[in-house]
Symmetry: C2
Subunit: 357 residues, 2 copies
């Protein structure tokens, strides 16, 4: 694998990940881009204690451009895009409309002097990962080698972003499908480097730490062992990974892809574990697309340990879920889910697993 770093016209970093160790990447971004001026803010909700990001400059972001103006395709003569090169394997660059960014003129204080609502600049980083230069492809259609290259890119970015000042958690994810609001159809994912431990991870870590204290074993390991032993909800079992529908699945389609060895994050995975993940995950994604004979809209996200806390109790997993509850009906997050955080699943995890097998 070869890694080449460049810069876009407005100063954002771009990193090419190439399978060919001899590949050179020298193309220059010819666009006349205004300098980036992200101005996002984080505020802490005084009732829940959760941080919320306020990113008012993002209302103007790119919204469903026609395919011939896709900003994630390679550049063609007369059509410069976010990627100056005329082709690429896997490429990562800074998001043009970031919710979190390193250089935000900021303040640390409160909202209007209300001491119950601490606020500050939304320091962090938001990156885009293009999985392939083929606009019409999808992650599920990648070769295993290409999927492995994406894993290496995720590992690289996780390690580097974890080293930025103030970053507490790195989240690599893919939103796929208009049904969940995806505005660019080119196969791509995103990486968010948050300046706090996310509420979801904080809650899971508190549970994992309590369990570890009381039982002496990691909860994810015990659950994984039980799921593998029973097998009712297992979809794919490989040497290093098991993919299963969790027994308390929230979503009409939900799969956890879990490594057999306790590791905190993607950089900690060995080469064979990365290869095996690529094969296992592609198998899962292809099952998802066969479920309704269409490209399933989904959110896929890596649950990694925070950068500075909870690394002993955490256990890496990839979680993929979909809002598609039948071929033509969506699961909406309405009162119970959005208001009270109580998920109602209209399918049993056993039914979901049976359909995916």
């Amino acid at each position: 694998m070869k890694r080449t770093v460049g810069h876009l016209a407005d100063g954002r970093e771009i990193i090419y990940f190439d399978a060919d160790p001899d590949r050179t990447r020298t193309a220059v971004d010819t666009r006349d881009l205004p300098p980036q001026a992200p101005a996002s803010e984080i505020r802490r909700d005084p009732l829940s204690g959760d941080w919320v990001a306020i990113a008012a400059h993002r209302q103007a972001r790119t919204y469903k451009p026609p395919a011939d103006q896709c900003p994630l395709c390679p550049s063609r003569p007369g059509h410069p895009t976010e990627i100056p090169e005329s082709d690429y394997d896997v490429v990562v660059f800074g998001n043009q409309f970031p919710s979190f960014a390193q250089h935000i003129p900021g303040f640390d204080g409160t909202v209007d002097g209300i001491e119950q609502v601490p606020a500050g600049p939304a320091r962090g980083q938001c990156e885009v990962v293009c999985f392939t230069s083929d606009h019409d492809s999808s992650f599920a259609q990648l070769s295993q080698d290409k999927a492995r290259l994406v894993v290496d890119a995720w590992a690289d970015r996780t390690a580097e972003l974890a080293g930025l000042p103030g970053v507490e958690q790195v989240f690599c994810f893919e939103n796929r499908g208009e049904e969940i609001g995806v505005t660019l159809h080119h196969p791509h994912g995103q990486i968010y480097a948050y300046p706090f431990v996310t509420p979801r991870t904080a809650k899971e870590l508190a549970t994992a730490e309590r369990y570890l204290r009381e039982r002496g074993t990691p909860v994810q390991g015990d659950v994984l062992a039980a799921e593998r032993a029973g097998g009712q909800r297992v979809l794919v079992e490989s040497e290093h990974w098991t993919a299963y529908v969790p027994a308390a699945a929230r979503w009409p389609v939900e799969v956890h892809v879990v490594p057999h060895r306790q590791v905190p994050d993607i950089p900690a995975l060995t080469g064979p574990e990365r290869d095996d993940f690529a094969a296992t995950y592609l198998d899962v994604l292809r099952r998802l697309d066969r479920l309704y004979d269409r490209r399933l809209p989904y959110v896929a996200g890596w649950h990694q340990a925070p950068v500075h806390t909870g690394r002993d109790a955490a256990w890496l997993r990839m979680e993929v879920f979909s809002v598609q509850r039948t071929a033509d009906r969506l699961k909406y997050l309405a009162g119970s889910e959005s208001g009270m955080a109580v998920w109602i699943n209209d399918a049993t995890p056993e039914q979901i697993a049976a359909r995916l097998r």
Copy 2:
């Protein structure tokens, strides 16, 4: 106000709330309905510790019937509906497809013997509240007297459901608009009686209890006082209530309607407080509909104290939010929100408040 209790053909309770104290309700449900057989289950996610409801029988529920087959309109000759009477003011009855129900043949145990995943029957109650017999109306178009009657119905149901065995929290809410998955357009809300304290409320209570311990005052009261003093985000201030956009709003439209007096739940509100809420809330809802000159899709929900815990720290509020981020674009819950519970708001709370004023 007059309250009349009846039963539907399958045994579900129906309760009429009438403004006229002399109104009688004697119509009989002539339908041949199969007996209810709800079979929902709750399972506890071992990673987060949250309960999830699995309600597989609900996939068959009524989905966007044509207006002339609306099950929430009064019955007409030849067209029996869920409401046997030929007219009504406000009516409440058991949901035909409940996620939580009292009589579920159940078990208390685990999923497949996996001790990390406790499970049990989803005991509780789900009710439907019809705000008006006028199919084409909306809550915002109710008279103040009618809105007050709805408040009385909410108070009645909260008090009664709180007395059912196993019920830990009562949630009165309204989902409005196809954008959030509403399948019946008749103006109505729902009431869920949960057999556990919801994750959202548990988290807010933990925050409120810590604050109360450390500061000696309720956090909601201090935030309310600060918002009223500053005024930047206040929309409506009446004798007993203030409606404001919270300083750390998660949604592109979000309003909290908060009583000036600390009360745990709707039954604790006095008559004048209920009247004043009706006026204040109608004012807020009408502002929401004027925002984009269309009926705004929204979720409106009462945050009430749990039935048995946290009642000293809790402070009632109505929370209304919308996924509509511009006149024609929606906010989707994608990776950051659904995966990590980090909300990114593309509008500042101050902008939202200014637009609603």
